[in-house]
């Protein structure tokens, strides 16, 4: 099987995010699909043209290394191509991606998060209603506002909603931007008088291992970081210094291939990993092959939008990938294939 071309199709108003579909075409008539941000369009096209025509998509691991060697290519574009290549590899086997990767049907532990900070009480109540009461999430991540009293009230609301579904809720918090390490420590310690905090995100920038370590040593909960990192080596200092307690992997930057590599390294350090959400929740496919997977992030529990659908469902707070060949993304305009 050989790659013959790439088409990038803008989702326009069909998707609330400025997204597009990357479609890889082959001489076998199969099409590999990934969803990425509109801004990656030209990098995706250029990277494809310079490296991929005529290549066999089943050799995706080797192609990933090849793409690594292109300097200056945006990580998100590289990752989108990797995702589409994995989709093709699975479709060539006529099996869902989770199986191609070697996983058993993933019933991945999942936690709810929100792409926006949910600033208003109404927005928070609505989100809580959808995520906890409708979808049954037993874990939730909330962005802090910086107002201690208000954050306590908001976290209480989320915890209460989860208490209806589980006896052991996981409460994660995300710090706002630009908080100093001292401020992060003060705020989290204060929250920890009232709440059992599972992890803290954005405690410091992902590369600042010293600051992350300082927070980890100063709070009871875990420090979760890594979601902005784009290269394997970026994770090294956090691993070696045990600065981070939960390694966050974004397959939207690392691709499936890179995420699997870092997940194995995290396993070597016996550190739990969490996967950042991808459009359509196709990241759930990779959950089953990560030995220390802790939880997958879910921003949007609905299987797709007006532009595309996927067959990843949320069942009582667990994420489940389906049986469609590949990653399960189906563009809306053509219907099911």
């Amino acid at each position: 099987m050989k790659l013959t071309g790439v088409t990038v199709i803008s989702h326009g108003r069909a998707s609330p995010a400025a997204s597009c579909s990357v479609e890889l075409h082959t001489d076998a008539g199969l099409t590999g699909i990934a969803i990425t941000a509109q801004r990656n369009r030209s990098t995706v096209e250029n990277l494809f043209k310079s490296l991929l025509p005529g290549q066999d998509p089943r050799t995706v691991t080797g192609l990933w290394e090849k793409m690594q060697q292109v300097r200056g290519a945006r990580a998100e574009a590289r990752a989108a191509l990797d995702l589409a290549l994995w989709d093709l590899k699975a479709k060539a086997n006529q099996e869902p991606l989770w199986k191609t990767l070697g996983g058993a049907r993933p019933r991945a532990n999942a936690h709810a998060a929100s792409a926006s900070a949910l600033p208003s009480d109404r927005a928070l109540a609505q989100w809580t209603e959808t995520m906890m009461r409708t979808h049954g999430f037993r874990g939730a991540q909330l962005q802090l506002t910086g107002d201690g009293k208000r954050d306590t009230w908001r976290l209480g609301l989320v915890r209460e909603a989860m208490a209806a579904v589980t006896r052991s809720p996981a409460l994660m918090v995300r710090m706002g931007a630009n908080a100093s390490t001292g401020e992060v420590l003060r705020r989290v310690r204060k929250l920890e008088r009232t709440f059992d905090v599972t992890w803290v995100e954005n405690a410091a920038p992902d590369r600042e291992a010293s600051a992350l370590k300082r927070v980890s040593d100063g709070i009871y909960g875990a420090v979760c970081a890594g979601g902005r990192l784009e290269r394997l080596g970026d994770f090294l200092v956090c691993l070696r210094r045990r600065a981070v307690d939960v390694i966050q992997l974004d397959p939207g930057r690392l691709g499936i291939t890179g995420a699997l590599q870092v997940a194995d390294a995290a396993f070597g350090y016996e550190l739990p990993v969490t996967l950042c959400a991808l459009p359509g929740n196709v990241h759930v496919h990779a959950a089953g092959v990560m030995p220390t997977l802790m939880s997958v992030e879910i921003l949007e529990p609905a299987p797709g939008n007006a532009a595309f659908t996927t067959d990843v469902r949320i069942e009582q707070g667990w994420a489940m990938a389906g049986d469609l060949p590949g990653n399960g993304i189906v563009p809306a305009r053509r219907g099911r294939r």
Binding site: D56, T59, G103, D264, Y269, G288, P291
Partner: protein
């Protein structure tokens, strides 16, 4: 598709020549072999070579499961071994099952394993390794020359008991390889015979005459302080890992900067575990090199590892009941298009080996040599052919 049953075939083989190292310089030629066949409900059988013992203990973890879910099954088997650990004989059983599952996964997809694993190329750079402490100077030269004629430009020599002889033998190896390269790659392997400081002294003296790529196992496998010390005090890279069994055992080595190159092999908990070790090393910027394997079958895995350098080829003649689809050419192992590992068993020859076991000198595995880690017990006259005429 489901795994329904298994069959283990044990046999004894007589290799085409003796192999030996610092722990048994006189060498052995007898090697126990084991083949695991994993059967499915769809008439496809997967197989793995090497270590079939103890399968019955782990088989319940995979019985009735889809072999394509191999990584999840690896996690499951690893969890099964929680209490006693993924170590020793249990680890070997896990390895053999995992490899047979990968063989099945590739066979189901109708492709060679290197492609299932996502490799872009079917070529793996090879280096020659004589396991040669038991070889006469002439046989040593002929072995490396034969390898060099197949394009192999690097060699790994067994050393450790006699500096003067080792220097002479290194020269012979370099000369033999010189038809493949103007600057052959040289490695040495004392197989943990030295203490760290013995290693530093010995290697330093060798390095006055030869530029070495790596020195393998210059200290005990777990001794991250000792290995790091050697690494800091010699020019050559320190390589180790072949006697470890799972990823967790690499943590102290990598986290403490103790190792420059990792030797990976099947015994790191199968294809899955081997890949985990390579990935962890890759994140640390440490390259890996694949150990030798019967019929070179691990080249399939090596081809797909992002940080793989070159694979050990020993070729002592231990494939009498096997047919395999790869060959060495222009210094590379070239993998074919046969599905899975590309290895098939000649059941007739296997049966013959089982019914009429060959006899010969010694038997794998052999013990550690006297003096190891403390003092050097040089080969006695007659113990190795190169001491006969001295």
């Amino acid at each position: 598709m489901k795994v329904t049953g298994y069959r283990v075939e044990n046999y004894l083989m007589k290799m085409d020549r003796l192999v030996g190292d610092a722990n048994l310089p006189s060498g052995v030629e007898m090697l126990p072999g084991s083949i695991l066949f994993l059967e499915t409900d769809e008439n496809i059988t997967g197989l793995s070579l090497g270590y079939g013992g103890g399968v019955e203990g782990l088989f319940p973890a995979i019985e009735g499961r889809d072999p394509r879910e191999v990584v999840a099954l690896w996690i499951r088997m690893n969890d099964f071994l929680h209490k006693s650990g993924n170590e020793g004989a249990a680890s070997m059983a896990l390895s053999s099952i995992d490899m047979a599952l990968w063989d099945l996964k590739a066979r189901i997809a109708g492709e060679p394993l290197w492609r299932t694993l996502g490799a872009r190329t079917n070529r793996v750079k090879a280096y020659a390794s004589g396991l040669d402490y038991c070889l006469s100077d002439e046989d040593l030269f002929n072995f490396y020359r034969r390898m060099a004629e197949r394009g192999i430009d690097s060699g790994k020599l067994k050393v450790g008991l006699d500096l003067k002889a080792d220097l002479r033998r290194l020269g012979l190896m370099r000369e033999a390889l010189s038809v493949a390269s103007r600057c052959p790659g040289l490695m040495i392997d004392p197989n943990e015979y030295w203490s760290p400081k013995q290693a530093v002294r010995y290697v330093r003296q060798i390095e006055q005459h030869f530029d070495l790529i790596w020195v393998e196992e210059p200290a005990r496998r777990w001794d991250y302080d000792g290995l790091r010390q050697v690494s800091r005090q010699v020019r050559a890279a320190v390589a180790t890992g072949e006697n470890l069994h799972n990823l967790s055992q690499f943590y102290p080595l990598l986290a403490n900067d103790a190792v420059d190159i990792i030797n990976v092999w099947t015994g790191h908990s199968g294809v899955t575990g081997c890949r985990q070790v390579a990935h962890m090393a890759h994140v640390h910027g440490v390259p890996v090199t694949m150990m030798n394997a019967q019929a070179n079958y691990m080249a399939h895995v090596a081809a797909a590892l992002p940080n793989h350098t070159m694979m050990e080829v020993v070729d002592p003649g231990r494939e009498h009941c096997l047919k395999f689809d790869n060959h060495v050419e222009d210094g590379y192992i070239i993998l074919g298009e046969s599905p899975g590992f590309g290895v098939e068993v000649d059941e007739k020859k296997l049966k013959a080996l089982q019914q009429d076991p060959p006899t010969g000198r010694g038997k794998f595995p052999f013990p550690r040599r006297e003096g190891a880690g403390r003092y050097i017990a040089p080969p006695a006259p007659g113990e190795v052919p190169w001491r006969q005429g001295e």
